[in-house]
Amino acid sequence: MQASAPGIVQGGRAIGLETVGFSKQFGALRALDDVTLKVEPGSFHALLGENGAGKSTLVKCIMGFYRADSGDLLLDGREEKIRNPREARALGLGMVYQHFTLAPALTGAENLVISRADAPAIIDWAKETKRLDAFLDRMPFRAPLHVPVSQLSAGEKQKLEILKLLYLDQRFLILDEPTSVLTPQEADEILSLLRGMTDRGEITILMITHKFREVTAFADSLTVLRRGARVGGGKVGEITTEAMARMMIGDTPIRERAARQPTPPRAPLLELAAVYAVGPEGKNVLDGVDLKVRGGEIVGLAGVSGNGQSQLVEAMSGQIAIDDGCVLIRNQRFEPTREAFHRLKIFGLPEEPLKNAAAARMSVAENMAFRNFERPPNASLGWWLRPSAIRARARDLIGRYHVKTQSPDAPIGDLSGGNVQRAILARELSSDVDVLIVANPCFGLDFASVAEIRAQIMDQRNRGAAVLLISEDLDEILELSDQVAVMSEGRVVYVAPIAQTDRATIGMHMAGHD
């Protein structure tokens, strides 16, 4: 076993991998159905599929987190049984997860050394530092090793995650949506460097992604999964992106993209003026945010996650305090109280709505009444609730917004992510909306839900609402926005009408370059 010799990545050592007839059953759900996947040594293979298509289950079976019910795994043509992640690691398989797996309080060097199976009982830092430097010199990219990981940017962390696998001499890398936390430039840089390593035959890459652009630009072959089964694949270049999309979604009908109606210029409805907020670590998480959103306009706020977008939503919804500056709605100072939300008709869909906008163990009907349970007809005298009215209203919303739930009385936590999203959106859009604040509304949803939710947002715009759309998905911003704004390090650093900007410019500003 060679995993102990750190980072001796040489040419021609890439591993080929093949799953033959992988199947996996979870209760009534057939998560994997006879999946055969062939990844040639030294190739860059993309694994495509919608959420719930079985991509994660497949790679988790490969990595030994789950055992496939049936099927064989071949590494370089030899059959191998992988019972746990440690065995996968010993065979040279490594994985970069969507969440970071580095310990935040440890430095990069500490994280790398301790991840080695043969980490010495007493660490000679002088010697280890020398070895790490020598290792980094052979790598196509670097990351700071001597500061705690918590102080690194998302891009640096992602590089360090990949460096860790290479340091452990893992030559088959599984990357699970590795670019979701990166700027387009950072993503391109890392992927092209990795592509170079595959071209030299040093490593093999299997990348889970839903970004067609990355597939066509960097991968050389692909496999598409749908509902646990392999529905297609082949060489990149021989399959159009339309064909990929068709394979991923199958015959599901998709609601037409909502038409953008021309709207007359209106006065700003929502205005942020020099909004500051101090985070738990004493840094300004919001560092003087200025932004205007007019009625009948969608302002798309782009940015790499962790640059203050979540805090901006939290500040406007009253979850964290605004330390300086103010939020104006129709030129009136807005304080996030229940009364003000109601009077000024401000609604919103925060990210992770199950956590931020719902009480998971309360029923769908109760959750749908959060905005107006104390008002008639849901209550009389402002405190005597009428559950029958609340339930009747919920039943109506469930029907109108196609929320899939067993009954209005089911706990909302039992619903799937897309349905929680729909239920909360139904609640927020069910009355007259003046200001709508949505954050990552389509994160992790299937195509059909995505189209529907985007159409709802566009409808509100067409009706004259001021919409602030905060999203980490640049394609979503480019599709929906009238104005694009970019947030970086707690500030809005760039605002432009959609017609006068492009992906590259936005990306530059996301990365903090002017």
């Binding site: 746990n84 992640p85 440690r86 690691r89 997860y97 969440h99 970071f100 797996t101 580095l102 310990a103 935040p104 309080a105 440890l106 500490e110 994280n111 050394v113 301790i114 991840s115 980490a119 010495p120 009982a121 007493i122 660490i123 830092w125 738990p280 670590e281 004493g282």
Partner: protein, 306 residues
């Protein structure tokens, strides 16, 4: 107050710090180790009392106080091991179970300790470091117990080990991000089990100091919440073993305010000054709750901060 009196008070505070701080120090170091691994063990108060009783009993029967110290450590490690084992079971809250362990520890100590309240056991001897001074007050203040030096050495060793050994990094990693540790194939439960048991061992030794040196007898009112205050002390020390030593000395000194003032004839407010460590605990808790540095140093897996 004349200069001589001030001097007397300061020397008494120094003596108090050196004498009273040792149990604080051991419990705090034990708690520091446990919390670094991502668990809170509030049972250390019980561990301290059981350690005191065990040390006294073993010293009485064997005639060797150092054997008593070792036995106290083992009793503490046993209590820690129970905590470490039970808390790895699903849906067990380490804080609630720690409180149960605190009551269990004191209960066991009172039950088995009934017989040892009367008899006199051999005590530990102090080392006199004050021989250079002609001032008898200094000489008596610098009566340093070897366990204090052991405690300082343990703190240095922990501080070094957290940065320079595999075990130190594994403990920190388990406390910081259990997911990262698991992804590497580390058994987080095992690391925490061992850290809690080792933390219990240290706290038990702190108890031995109480019954075998200062105050130097076994009775039911021996510990007045030192074990609980040590938990506050760890937060104050921001999970750094060296700062734990400094904080323990500070607590010891405040504990000696009352007696020190009494020794120069100020008896007014004696009980108030005796409450100084508790007041200090409160002030520290309030002060450090909003501290940004504490927020950065706290192990990410700790259930009190989640």
């Amino acid at each position: 107050m004349s200069e001589g009196l001030v001097q007397t008070v300061l020397i008494a505070l120094l003596g108090g710090a050196l004498r009273v701080s040792t149990p604080f120090m051991f419990v705090a170091l034990g708690e520091c180790l446990t919390e670094k691994s991502g668990r809170v063990n509030l049972g250390l108060e019980g561990t301290l009392v059981l350690g005191a009783m065990t040390a006294y009993a073993i010293s009485f029967h064997s005639g060797s106080p150092w054997l008593g110290v070792l036995a106290a450590g083992c009793a503490g490690a046993a209590l820690g091991a129970i905590h470490g084992f039970v808390c790895k079971l699903p849906r067990v809250n380490d804080i609630a179970f720690g409180i149960a362990m605190m009551l269990l520890g004191t209960g066991l100590a009172f039950f088995f300790g009934k017989a040892y309240i009367q008899p006199s056991a051999p005590r530990l001897d102090a080392i006199s470091l004050g021989g250079w001074s002609s001032d008898p007050r200094i000489a008596s203040a610098l009566q340093v117990h070897p366990l204090l030096l052991v405690g300082i050495l343990v703190a240095l060793a922990m501080w070094w080990a957290f940065a320079n050994t595999r075990w130190g990094l594994l403990v920190r990693m388990s406390g910081d991000s259990a997911q990262s540790a698991r992804a590497m194939g580390v058994s987080v439960d095992l690391v925490r089990f061992l850290a809690t048991a080792a933390g219990g061992f240290l706290a038990g030794i702190g108890g031995a100091f109480l019954s075998l040196y200062y105050p130097g007898s076994w009775n039911q009112g021996l510990s007045s919440g030192q074990g609980l205050m040590a938990v506050a002390l760890v937060i104050f020390a921001r999970w750094n073993p060296l700062r734990c030593v400094a904080a323990a000395l500070l607590f010891g000194a405040t504990g000696a305010i009352g007696p020190a003032l009494q020794s120069v004839g100020i008896t007014q407010g004696y009980y108030f000054f005796n409450a100084a460590p508790y007041i200090l605990t409160l002030v520290i808790m309030i002060g450090s709750a909003g501290s940004q540095k504490a927020g950065r140093d706290v192990p990410g897996e700790l259930s009190i901060t989640k």
